[in-house]
Every structure is written in structure tokens, then in C-alpha cells.
């Protein structure tokens, strides 16, 4: 069944974890939750595919977990606070995961954050039809501002 369009689906690069995704991703998220326990982390690392058999996941969800496709997991109902536990099990920092999801290297991502983060300009809307947006997109770079003037 195709996902019903919501107003927030217009936000680019964003998977809002709503009731539909929560239902779809229930077992994926419960798998991630199980990684809160050391013994489960060990069992998972020892035999990833075997451990996943404990959860009634869809083949797509299994594949996304095994391949560490973090955006795909979100698309299939994963929630970031849960999938972060998988990242932590792999020994990765959160910035590493964020970099992966943005298709960047951790170094470049960290630099972007240090220079003020990803600009909102040009990142508000897929359709371009943003109601109530008071600011017009400027010609500034979309992802990286070198000005650094925002920092205190």
C-alpha cells in the first residue's frame, strides 16, 4: 500500500517518524532496542543474520540493517534514536552516522557543522511552494557557509 502523502513529506531529506512508519518499523526498532544489552550486542556481532532471525523483519528491513543503510532504515520505519543504537554497537559516533546519512565524510560533515551547519536556505521544501516562508532563498551555498559569523 502506497504511503499517503502528508504535508511534512514536502520537507527535503527528511523521514518523519509518524504513526504509519512506527507501525511499519516496529520490529526494526525493537531489534535496535535489544542492542541496549551487552549480551545482545555480542550475539548480534557474532552472527548478524542469525540474530536478526529473532525478529519478524521484512526482507528489505533485514537487508538495510545488514548493509547499514541508515536512510533506508528510516524510510522503512526506523527511528533515528533507535538506529543510533546500531551505530553505537558498531562503535561509531553519532556524527559518523549523520555523515553517512548525508552522503558525506565525517570530516567534511564536522567541518560543515563548525562553520554554522547546513543552511536552511534552499532546504525548506521539495516543491518550492512553502507557505509562510518569510525569507527568500539567498544565493549562498546550500550546505556550507564559510562566514562562521554565527558562532558565539
Amino acid at each position: 500500500m502506497a504511503r499517503e502523502q502528508r504535508d511534512y513529506d514536502d520537507i527535503p531529506g527528511t523521514f518523519v517518524f509518524d504513526a504509519e512508519r512506527s507501525r511499519q518499523g516496529y520490529h526494526l526498532n525493537m531489534f535496535c532496542m535489544s542492542l541496549m544489552k551487552e549480551e545482545n550486542r555480542k550475539a548480534f556481532k557474532a552472527n548478524e543474520a542469525g540474530y536478526l532471525d529473532r525478529f519478524p523483519l521484512t526482507p528489505e528491513q533485514r537487508e538495510a540493517i545488514l548493509q547499514r543503510q541508515y536512510n533506508r532504515m528510516l524510510e522503512l520505519g526506523g527511528n533515528i534514536y533507535f538506529t543510533a543504537k546500531l551505530g553505537a554497537t558498531d562503535g561509531h559516533s553519532f556524527q559518523h552516522m549523520a555523515a553517512v546519512m548525508t552522503g558525506s565524510t565525517q570530516d567534511d560533515y564536522a567541518k560543515m557543522m563548525l562553520s554554522g551547519g547546513r543552511s536552511i536556505e534552499g532546504n525548506r521544501s521539495k516543491s518550492g511552494a512553502v507557505k509562510g516562508a518569510k525569507t527568500k532563498p539567498k544565493s549562498k551555498a546550500k550546505t556550507r557557509s564559510k562566514s562562521g559569523s554565527k558562532r558565539g
Binding site: 527528511t14 536512510n71 543504537k85
Partner: protein, 309 residues
């Protein structure tokens, strides 16, 4: 009578907790963040609240997807730090205030806020990081803390307006508690950030600064921000800022902004912090009694001046 003396908002970025726990607070990157809270610690040492009510959100620590309460009030005697995947944070156990908490629960439920009562709960960085920022790293937290967990994990969180109105109901509850207690309310989370999906790393300082301005001056305007606008402008996870509005609802309409701090970034997030004080009302019991015995109604200005002295 118990009384709310101030409201404080602060981000609760987990990496701030990690920096404290791993002794990295002196690194220049972190110094920039922590230096912004030096004045706040001084303020807190002077204010010496008897109880803190901390509005925060759980990050899949106490609540998984099995149970998702919109508002969950911690009525337990204590709340141990949760194991968030690396073992529990080495911070003191958070002691609650079961009497005031259950009084608040009863009062706000009768005021039509159907919150969930939680008698057993672990608390994660969402609660403990702001305590560190305001108190440093003491052996014991200096006062009891009542946690109020708000769902901002599964859409939709409660609206900003609902949060604001809950704040007002909490204030009413606090003020009907017979014991003399000085209460500070924390609103935590935010400010702009997105940590999920290809748009991760989003920061909107302009939105944040306007939010801070209006938090002091025109909070009602903030209660009209839609969820769509929060997520679009402040990032998918920036919607946490609805929690600041519980705090704002719990203090006076007109407040004094005594401190503000804003910096980008801490890890993936814009860090925002504000201290809003209620104006003195000459409402301490002793002064009240004195005023009553001398004259039936002292003019408000005189009572305020007396309270300031």
C-alpha cells in the same frame, strides 16, 4: 505555599554529556559550549531551588516503541541514569519529590491534562545533561528533580499550545501545594537541529534567535508555530522546542530575562539557553503575614520593594 521562581531552558545534546564523562570539557571546542554556562551555575548557586521540575524527552531509553506516553510524570523517589548503550552515565541518581509530583499529577489531571504517572523510570541524557550544565558534576544533585517526559520521538508530539497550557496547569498545581518550596522549571532540548536523513546537520540560527526573543517577550506567538513549521525551519528533531513552552507556561506572562547563551554547534545541534525570572511578588509567607498585620492591603509596589530588599 510552593512557588515557581524561574524557568530555564537548555539544550540537552548527548555529546555534551560524553564530553563531561570523558574529561574533555577543557578542549577549545567544548570550552566554547561550557563557558556559556558559567554564569548559569552562579545563578543556580544563588537561587538554591528546593525542587526542579524538568521537562525533557526520553530517547528510546525508558520508553521504546512499546509504550509512547505523550506526557509522563515521574512520581518515584528516585530515577537511576539509563544505560544508553555505553553503560549508564557516571552521574548521581536523580532523587524525585514524590509528594509534590503526585500532587501535580492529581491537580493537572483534574484540570483535564490526562498525563501518565510513572513510578519506575530510568532517565537518560535528556534529563541529566541539563543538570550537569546548571550544577556541574557534584557527588549528589543539590535538590530533588521531578521529571516530566514529553513524547517528541513519534510524530505528533503535543502541540506547542498544549505544552504551554500544561505549564499553566503545573503552575496552578505547584501554587496549591501547602509546603513552602522554591521551584525552578527546566525546559530542555533544541534548538534547531536535524540528526536524521540526508538533511541532517540543519541549523537555523535566525529561527532560534527569534524563538529566544519571543520566549521572553511574546510566548503566545510561539504557541502558534505548527509542527510543520518547526520541522521545516528548525529540523525534524528541532520540534523538541515544544518542551520549552511547558516551562514558559509555568512562569509569569511578564518575566525578566536574566541570561541568554547561544552557540553553534555542539555536535549536530544549535545550543540555546535562557534564564527567565518571575518578578518578585512579595509572596513569601513571612512578609505576607507582616503586611497583613500592619495594614490589610499594602500597595503592590511597596510589597514588591519589600521583597527586593
Amino acid at each position: 505555599m510552593a512557588r515557581i521562581i524561574a524557568g530555564i531552558s537548555s539544550s540537552h545534546v548527548p555529546a555534551i554529556g560524553a564530553a563531561i564523562d570523558n574529561g574533555r570539557t577543557q578542549e577549545p571546542y567544548w570550552q566554547r559550549v561550557f563557558s556559556g554556562f558559567e554564569k548559569s551555575k552562579e545563578w543556580m548557586a544563588k537561587a538554591k531551588p528546593d525542587v526542579i521540575i524538568a521537562i525533557y524527552n526520553d530517547h528510546a531509553s525508558a520508553f521504546s516503541v512499546e509504550i509512547i506516553p505523550t506526557f509522563a510524570l515521574g512520581c518515584a523517589a528516585e530515577f537511576p541514569p539509563a544505560d544508553e548503550g555505553w553503560g549508564p552515565r557516571p552521574v548521581p541518581v536523580v532523587k524525585g519529590h514524590p509528594e509534590l509530583a503526585s500532587h501535580i499529577a492529581q491537580s493537572v489531571i483534574l484540570d483535564e491534562f490526562d498525563l501518565t504517572i510513572v513510578n519506575k523510570m530510568e532517565v537518560d541524557h535528556g534529563l541529566t545533561v541539563p543538570l550537569n550544565l546548571m550544577f556541574g558534576s557534584p557527588k549528589e544533585w543539590p535538590c530533588p528533580v521531578i521529571p516530566l517526559a514529553v513524547n517528541v520521538v513519534q510524530y505528533p508530539p503535543p502541540t506547542g499550545h498544549r505544552c504551554f497550557m500544561l505549564g499553566k496547569a503545573i503552575r496552578k498545581a505547584v501554587e496549591s501545594f501547602p509546603q513552602d518550596l522554591r521551584v525552578v522549571v527546566f525546559g530542555t532540548g533544541g534548538m534547531s537541529h536535524q540528526i536524521s536523513g540526508p538533511r541532517a546537520g540543519l541549523i537555523n540560527s535566525k529561527f532560534d534567535k527569534a524563538f529566544l526573543d519571543n520566549l521572553t517577550k511574546d510566548p503566545k506567538k510561539l504557541t502558534r508555530i505548527s509542527h510543520l513549521e518547526f520541522m521545516r525551519e528548525a529540523g525534524a528533531e528541532g520540534i523538541e522546542m515544544v518542551m520549552w513552552l511547558v516551562m514558559r507556561g509555568a512562569i509569569d506572562d511578564k518575566v525578566d530575562e536574566v541570561y541568554r547563551f547561544y552557540t553553534v554547534p555542539a555536535s549536530n545541534t544549535a545550543v540555546g539557553h535562557i534564564i527567565l525570572e518571575n518578578r518578585p511578588r512579595g509572596a513569601t509567607k513571612r512578609k505576607h503575614t507582616a503586611a497583613r498585620t500592619s495594614k490589610r492591603t499594602a500597595p503592590t509596589r511597596t510589597r514588591r520593594a519589600a521583597a527586593r530588599a
